[in-house]
Amino acid sequence: MVAKQLSIFLENKQGRLTEVTDVLAKENINLSALCIAENADFGILRAIVSEPDKAYKVLKENHFAVKITDVVGISCPNTPGALAQVMNYLSSAGVFIEYMYSFACGQVANVVIRPTNLDKCLNVLKEKKVDLIAANELYRL
């Protein structure tokens, strides 16, 4: 349901992504999803990892600008119109989405959503019986 996502501020500099992934690899932390939002001179790496609290701690120790953000994970059929339906539920209930990222795998598509209003978003999704992914499940994908 509500999962912890890591948000890491990174300068647009060669090798920074390698350094983040190296730090996580050394601690045996797995990445299950990630995306990068970019700007002219910096980017924000958003990632779902196997152990978010531990990852946060080690990244902090290595002086990365890291934050934990609450996101919602859902799963929907990998068919045309399935996501459109979920989006319809949310927009008609007045839930705005700051950003989202998704990936399809076989029969299902997993979507990570960062809504402006988390509780409201969850209520709508539950009410409409959308398939929510438990945090632990998301971390271990």
């Binding site: 501020f9 990174l10 920074r16 910096f42 924000i44 958003r46 002086h63 990365f64």
Partner: protein, 433 residues
């Protein structure tokens, strides 16, 4: 506390008399012992007999850093090398370093000035001084060392660098006073925070910070981060080194040891003296130096002098905080910019860390400034537009203070190099022909 109440609290008239007697003696001394000054005075058609009291100082020739370079290394010494017991040299970022020679008496005067400074900072024999200025050619380390020993304090001669060991010894030896550059003090504060040792476990109570210009906002930052009183100690190697001036508990200007270094403020363009309270270039004349006495040395530091008695009881003149050396001043699209102005803007906003790097370049015949600055960890956001808003906020604050646009580039925490001595805040890539 006051180390030398007789001098530090002397009435201005008596002090003026001492300065007059010393200046007359000094001019006579350099005329007969420094060929450089004899020649200059002869060119100006003046002799020591023309100097009768301190007001006559305006008749004397100026000395510049260039004169020191031209007479490298010992051309301005007034004594034979057999009388020189110590040599220091400036870091010399451009070309050859400037060299200063001290006689045994010069060292004792210097130590006296530092003893006054440390006493004003609340230091005494019951204190443990950690000297984290570099030991060596730089005047900071050995100078502060001698002053702290002279007041009877216990001295830890750390020198600069090796930050982890600095923290361990500061903690284990119970250092109460820290002497270093303000930028290194900031770095130490960060490193202590990282070490996980609580600030309460340290006995530190005050810091003697100098060797680079710093701002009032930086003082607040250091006092808050380290939980100490942060005092300015002013100096320049051409005069002696640190201890030319010091702050007292009132923290309302830097008292100058004017019985040894006579200060004037001049208009840097016309070279005419300026009235008290007005900002101009600070000029010093040695009143007691033997080894390498200088007349009217142009420091290139900009400040103003205030002669009213201080609430601490001292009558020694107070100098305004140095905005910056005129050497440090950048001219960007015709506007004067001091790195300290940028520091104070950054520190006025809670979102930013005081470490910064300003890169100046000339692109298509226009000066451009890029400011690299770190956001404090708590203020980094998950959202691009919030981070962009932070950039805009700082850009607007800089624009309003400097009257110039600055490209703000936010960088990651700890990505700007920390200095253990004098911080390098500006990279000027412009090529002037």
């Amino acid at each position: 506390m006051i180390w030398n109440e007789t001098i530090e609290c002397m009435d201005r008239e008596s002090l003026r008399k001492i300065q007059s007697i010393r200046l007359k003696k000094m001019v006579d001394y350099v005329y007969h012992n420094t060929p450089f000054y004899r020649k200059k005075m002869q060119q100006m058609d003046i002799t020591p007999d023309d100097i009768n009291d301190i007001n006559d100082i305006v008749k004397l020739p100026f000395t510049t850093k260039l004169d020191l370079r031209d007479n490298y290394p010992f051309g301005l010494c007034a004594v034979p090398m057999s009388q020189i017991v110590r040599i220091h040299a400036s870091s010399g970022t451009t070309g050859k370093p400037t060299v200063v020679g001290y006689t045994r008496k010069d060292l004792s005067v210097w130590t006296e000035c530092l003893s006054r400074s440390f006493t004003a900072f609340g230091g005494s024999q019951s204190d443990v001084f950690q000297i984290s200025y570099g030991y060596g050619l730089f005047t900071g380390g050995l100078g502060a060392h001698a002053g702290a020993e002279n007041i009877g304090a216990s001295v830890i001669p750390m020198s600069s660098g090796n930050t982890q060991k600095q923290i361990t010894l500061m903690h284990d030896f119970g250092a109460t006073m820290l002497c270093c550059t303000p930028s290194y003090a900031l770095h130490l504060a960060e490193a202590i925070h990282d070490s996980g040792i609580s600030f309460e476990e340290f006995k530190l109570k005050a810091g003697a910070f100098g060797a680079e210009p710093w701002t009032e906002s930086m003082r607040c930052e250091l006092e808050k981060k380290l939980g100490i009183k942060a005092y300015d100690i002013y100096g320049l190697s051409e005069m002696d080194g640190p201890g030319v001036g010091f702050e007292c508990e009132a923290q309302h200007g830097t008292h100058l040891n004017e019985d040894h270094f006579f200060p004037e403020i001049i208009d840097p363009k016309t070279l005419e003296p300026m009235e008290s309270g007005k900002t101009g270039e600070l000029v010093f004349t040695h009143l007691t130096k033997q080894g390498m006495p200088l007349l009217r040395y142009r420091t290139k530091d900009l400040s103003a002098l205030h002669y009213e008695k201080c609430s601490c009881g001292r009558t020694l003149v107070r100098m305004d905080r140095i905005l910056g050396r005129s050497d440090d001043m950048l001219i960007i699209r015709g506007v004067n910019v001091f790195p300290t102005q940028i520091e104070s803007v950054i520190l006025s906003l809670p979102e930013f860390d005081p470490n910064f790097l300003l890169i100046v370049d000339r692109i298509n015949n226009t000066d451009v400034m890029e400011l690299q600055v770190e956001v404090r960890p708590d203020y980094y956001s998950d959202e691009i537009n919030k981070i962009v808003a932070l950039k805009k906020k700082l850009g607007a604050a800089l624009q309003s203070v400097l009257g110039l646009s600055v490209n703000v580039r936010l960088v990651e925490p700890r990505s700007i190099e920390r200095s253990t001595g004098k911080a390098k805040r500006v990279i000027d890539k412009r090529v002037f022909k």
